[in-house]
Symmetry: C2
Subunit: 773 residues, 2 copies
């Protein structure tokens, strides 16, 4: 079971690389009894029940608090006002670049998907037309299914075998990253390449997926790459933007990247900014927000510009996003006051259907974790889904006899005649055979009467289950568009039924309006986003009029849905046992104080510490601490020592690597002083302690930590209540918070896991178990 968990978890490779690291001989001569990681793996319980009552210990935290040690302060003090101005300007440049590249990637995905879908359509259509009359439609079906499966196979293989973290929409992972959890490999170049390739294959393969969610992940990777001015994967360092090589700055850029992704996906720059803020940033900063907005604007603009060139309408900026809801003119689809209760009812339906979707997907995911864990099985499942999708669609089209006259202007982009008379097309085929984006648009805008109710009902039903089965496959794909499509279908159905009940009312006549509301309700019921989703929808429709109804619908969907189950992304985050910090501590947690919450006892170092001790502590795999309070002992007393600083594992490793020992400094006076640059060069992939060679002689040396530790870590007294600790921790994005007694002696350390452990369950405050999953 441990193995199973390993395979499906987001960070499986981290375990592997960790094991590799341990496979190398230990060079530091540690005298401690060494528990190798393999032992500890075997030592843990064989069967870990994979439920949300666990909190994994394998996720590390990002540190959004600058370590203000002497090196840092010296650098900051050396910098002139002009230096800070230049930094500020380079932040803007980086954000512009992020936006530009994200837009380019979106453009690339869009064009390639379009081309592939076009080719596929031509092949299949010719085949169908050839065989419709001779009755050999099963050949067409097989051709279609094989084509789709082939695309999906390629997509699934690159994801399953090369980069499993690229699976899914990537939004849960980015949420975690912005929350401060380090998900291994989530912002690497390889992930981006696999993601882009994967999403193209799965969309072209006709799965019930969208290409919008992955854009957010892609934007985040671009941001993480561009802002560091180097690629560790390609071993290329451009020697620029070195100042930004730390968690604090990188987080800000990743926010901008995620926003740029949303912006490119939906043509919604403001929605992108709000998405970033809603999901990530806890500390709102005016300049940062403005930069994020800039990146978003550039991104949608770039996409728009290049698509206009591609469409031979250079300069016509009318396609700001990957999905385009089409123009909603206020006149034709204005809503009236008495429609608002109807909208709210639709919101409730969306909440119910969303909760159903999430519960089904939750069970499915549990099943996948148990049984579908080997890459080849995952690829096979993906191919199976592709084949089933094709078959079901084909059957639906085949048995549907919903023929519609072909418009004079041939508005349908992929009309299929099938058994319809000449000059007519099969309406079910429009919904199934198109890319999902096209289907959404036609549901929003086609003339009343284009679809008959039975078609819509059947479509909703099948697409609902297909989408639910598809989400969580080992392919890169998002759930936004399928949700919109399901919602648009039943929303349009709702509108048609309304119109048929009240035959006289002309305002009911436009089912497109209800399709839009239904789409919002369904999407809200599944993902449970609020403010940002309202703005995204408003921007995508290009019409401010719908603001209030969409907000009411999303709110209702959220309230109804939350009654049953959490949002889809949160479910997946919980299933990975990520120590995710919510906005506030659980309401009834005032009972708890730092004393109960903290980890204790704490491994501390002295200000001047023996190298051997440090190496032994760092090599101890059973604890694997990352932050160590630095203390001064009161001479000759036995009591706990006073806090004087905090030092990180990563800093100690750099110190050990450069052998910054007191004795050596004395003997080699000419030695170059360690600089902040050395720490930055090692960021973010600090070498493991096992790769650092420390001789027996060196183990007897001393290390002076004064210059490198953070001399002013944030502290709280033991009596501080949990909500207060939580607020400090969350507002400042901390990684370690030292708990001290009233004489400033270290008594404990609070980390992310200690806070994320408590959550509000059905029966009041519950405590999650920590586990080495």
């Amino acid at each position: 079971m441990a193995n199973i968990t390993k395979k499906v978890s987001w960070s499986s490779r981290a375990d592997e690389s960790g094991a590799t690291g341990e496979g190398t001989p230990l060079l530091n001569g540690s005298e401690l009894p060494k528990y190798s990681r393999q032992d500890s793996l075997r030592g843990r319980p064989k069967e870990i029940p994979h439920n949300e009552k666990l909190l994994s210990l394998k996720f590390e935290s990002l540190d959004y608090d600058n370590s203000e040690n002497q090196l840092f302060l010296e650098e900051e003090r050396r910098m002139s006002y002009m230096g800070f101005r230049c930094l500020e300007i380079s932040r803007w440049v980086v954000c512009g670049l992020i936006g530009f590249m994200t837009g380019l990637i979106a453009c690339f995905i869009d064009i390639v998907v379009e081309k592939l879908a076009g080719v596929k359509y031509q092949v299949v259509k010719q085949n169908i037309e050839k065989f419709t009359e001779v009755g050999g439609l099963s050949i067409s079906l097989i051709l279609w299914a094989v084509l789709n499966s082939a695309f999906v196979m390629v997509g699934a293989i690159i994801v399953a075998f090369f980069e499993p973290i690229a699976a899914g929409s990537g939004i849960p992972q980015i949420k975690c990253y912005l929350n401060g959890v380090k998900i291994p490999r989530v912002v690497r170049l390889k992930t981006l390449v696999v993601k882009v390739g994967g999403v193209i294959c799965s969309v072209a393969g006709g799965l019930a997926v969208g290409k919008e969610g992955p854009m957010i992940h892609s934007g985040a990777v671009v941001a993480a790459g561009v802002s560091q001015g180097r690629s560790t994967s390609l071993k290329k360092d451009f020697k620029i933007f070195e100042y930004f090589r730390r968690d604090t700055e990188k987080r800000d850029f990743v926010s901008a990247g995620a926003a740029a992704g949303v912006s490119a996906a939906f043509g919604a720059p403001v929605g992108g900014v709000l998405f970033s803020l809603e999901e990530g940033a806890s500390f709102w900063n005016q300049m940062l927000t403005w930069r994020i907005f800039f990146a978003s604007m550039i991104s949608t603009f770039t996409l728009n510009f290049f698509l206009s060139i591609y469409n031979n309408k250079t300069g016509d900026l009318s396609s700001p996003g990957l999905i385009n809801f089409g123009r909603f003119e206020s006149d034709s689809v204005a809503y009236n006051l008495y429609e608002i209760p109807l909208f709210i009812a639709m919101g409730a339906i969306g909440g119910l259907l969303g909760a159903l979707f999430n519960i089904l997907n939750y069970w499915l995911t549990i099943f996948r974790i148990r049984y579908v864990h080997r890459p080849c099985l995952q690829v096979m499942e993906a191919m199976l889904v592709a084949a089933v999708t094709a078959t079901v669609s084909f059957a639906m089209i085949y048995f549907s006899n919903d023929c519609q006259p072909l418009g004079p202007d041939h508005a349908e982009e992929y009309p299929l005649q099938l058994f319809c008379a000449d000059g007519e097309y099969n309406s079910m085929a429009t919904a199934f055979f198109n890319t999902p984006e096209r289907s959404v648009r036609s549901l929003f805008h086609n003339q009343p009467g284009t679809y008959n109710p039975l078609t819509l009902g059947m479509f909703t039903l099948t697409y609902f289950f297909l989408a639910c089965w598809t989400y969580g496959l080992t392919v890169s794909a998002g759930v936004f568009i399928p949700s919109l499509l399901i919602g648009a279908a039943w929303g349009r159905l709702f509108g048609i039924l309304l119109a048929s009940i009240t035959s006289s009312g002309s305002i009911w006549a436009d089912p497109g309006k209800y399709a839009l509301i239904g789409a919002a309700a369904q999407l809200g019921g599944i993902v449970r986003m609020t403010l940002s989703l309202t703005v995204i929808m408003v921007e995508a429709t290009g019409n401010v009029t719908y603001g209030l109804p969409i907000m009411l619908v999303l709110m209702t969907a959220k309230i109804v849905g939350d009654y049953f189950v959490e949002g889809l992304y949160d479910i997946h985050i919980k299933l990975q046992s990520v120590p995710f910090l919510h906005w506030e501590a659980p309401a009834t947690s005032h009972w708890l104080t730092a004393r109960e919450v903290m980890s204790s006892p704490v491994t501390c170092f002295n200000r001047i510490e023996k190298v051997g001790t440090i190496v032994d502590v760092l090599s101890n795999t059973s604890t694997n601490h990352n932050g160590f309070p630095v203390v001064v002992h009161v001479a000759g007393s036995d009591e706990p020592a006073k806090l004087c600083g905090l030092i990180l594992r990563s800093q100690l490793i750099v110190l050990l690597k450069h052998k910054v020992f007191v004795e050596l400094a004395r003997s080699r006076l000419t030695q170059r002083k360690l600089q902040l640059k050395d720490f930055r060069d090692a960021y973010p992939r600090f070498p493991p302690i096992q790769s650092i060679h420390v001789s027996q002689d060196e183990r007897e040396c001393m290390m002076d930590l004064t210059e490198f530790m953070n001399p002013t870590p944030y502290t709280v007294p033991q009596e501080t209540s949990l909500p207060r600790v939580f607020k400090l921790f969350r507002a400042l994005g901390l990684r370690h918070l030292v708990v001290v007694d009233d004489e400033n002696k270290v008594v404990g350390l609070v980390t992310r896991k200690d806070l994320a452990r408590y959550h509000l369950g059905k029966h009041g405050l519950e405590e999650l178990q920590l586990a080495q999953t």
Copy 2:
């Protein structure tokens, strides 16, 4: 000069009421040599140079950190999960109410202004038509000027004599409030009444002002009132929402109120949320933002609904804001790529003109502070401005011969024929005689050729100076609409000139587009808002297409303008010497540490303190501290004592009032225990210490502070750098931050003023002087 300062400052009444408080005989038998405030007034320098290099000591800070004392924790722990749910629901109810009432107020203002302007227009028009032929136009002029002056006089009198804080737009004050500065009387009912009355008078009086800015202030007052469930002014306590009677909760509601105000003013709910966040909130909370958005939505919806009833088009939700930019259809006014440099150039012009506006207004304000400080002078100045505005407008209309044909549908709402032929109207009169909102709309949407360039040029010039003179008068009025109007005028001019240069281009043909861009540029150049203003403009135009150009324009305007001078609101905040905390500490302030920044020595209390000592410290007007660290002395040692808590002046005053003395508690065992309710009842107007009677016997009693102090105040070590202190202080919205040494002994206290003192001037880091202005 001290007196002068007193009269014009935002908080003049606070001084007065302080003096009144001191007029009552001291009841507490304090033995200290008492400096009465009058003495200290005389003691300070006679002539305080009123510049921005000062920081006033008279502004107190709001405290966004809950004092988590035993009473508070007991209450929180007693509360069940359901209790928290109910609280959450009541927060939503309060936000709904805030939105509703703000919308109603906006509706009221709109209708009354409309009515008054209509009456005035009829009277003047009849008069003009009567006298145009007999050549007695001077009589019309006098009538017009007198009417305007009368309106403005009423508006100025109620502001100058009843509530000076209601002057101006109120945005600087709300900015300060959300930043955490307590501006006396800014959120009182009386302020609201005067504000609403004042804005109606000044708009009806034809001043170059708008009614939008004051809406933000009005919304904030409504929020502060509704959320407390009582009115101190009306002495009415509804006994509801008692839980919200503290700074933390109130701040959140005031944010919602300000957002609702923006939303009602511009029909921009998302813009309102962003305004609140940009100006105020430092800690972003998802639920809070969503509530703010709810209030905004309700507000614009209420306004829209009631206006639709008023206009006899019930249910037609087409006027979401006080100002309505009219419909911009994307087809008619799409922009092209090569227009973007033009837009940026217009942004630069807006930045320059904005800076000029701000500098002129700065000088004017200095002049006003020096010489126009008595209420009757202020009223006279306002009347003078009204008369001059009328005269100038009249002269402009008179000498202009820009006659335009009256459209077939009589699109002009207030056409003036004057010397034009029948079937024509005077175009200059359209710009001057309308309410500014109407003028803006007609500049945006009137057909090309409606205005000739000379008219626009003259109009820009005169209106620029009139608006500049008007802002800062003792009337309630905003600067948004005048800025938009100036910008729209020169923007349209710019468009016309472009069209005349390149005669062939059809895309240049619509000057309305350039009017919009010009309006954005001018407004951005004056107020320097960024993200929120972009969204407000986009929402007000109802068209997402203009997002990118507006953003570029606003950014350019801000960069260019910031080069010369700050934004208008910031100038006025600085002129009031408010200790305003910006987003981040000055860039080059890593040199400073808490040790240099903090106030020291600190007045501390013992955990069990003598009543007399407490009374004496609180009565000491020369220090006037508000927070006191509570310490325990090490028995028999002389060294500074260890920190064990923090207690506030307001808490001590409640304790003294209820005589919570150790000796009394022993003797009267039946006495009711002091509850959190007692503190809430006294909030926010805690009585002054002078009104509390303490007998000589009682002075010998002891008070046990353990239960009431905050036992876990945030602390920092002395070596903490200023940016780090600043970040902690700002992120958590603190009022007091205790500085301790490495043995947890109190060495200093950091308050808002200590941090706001440092700012980045032309020559690097500067330190402001603290002054008793």
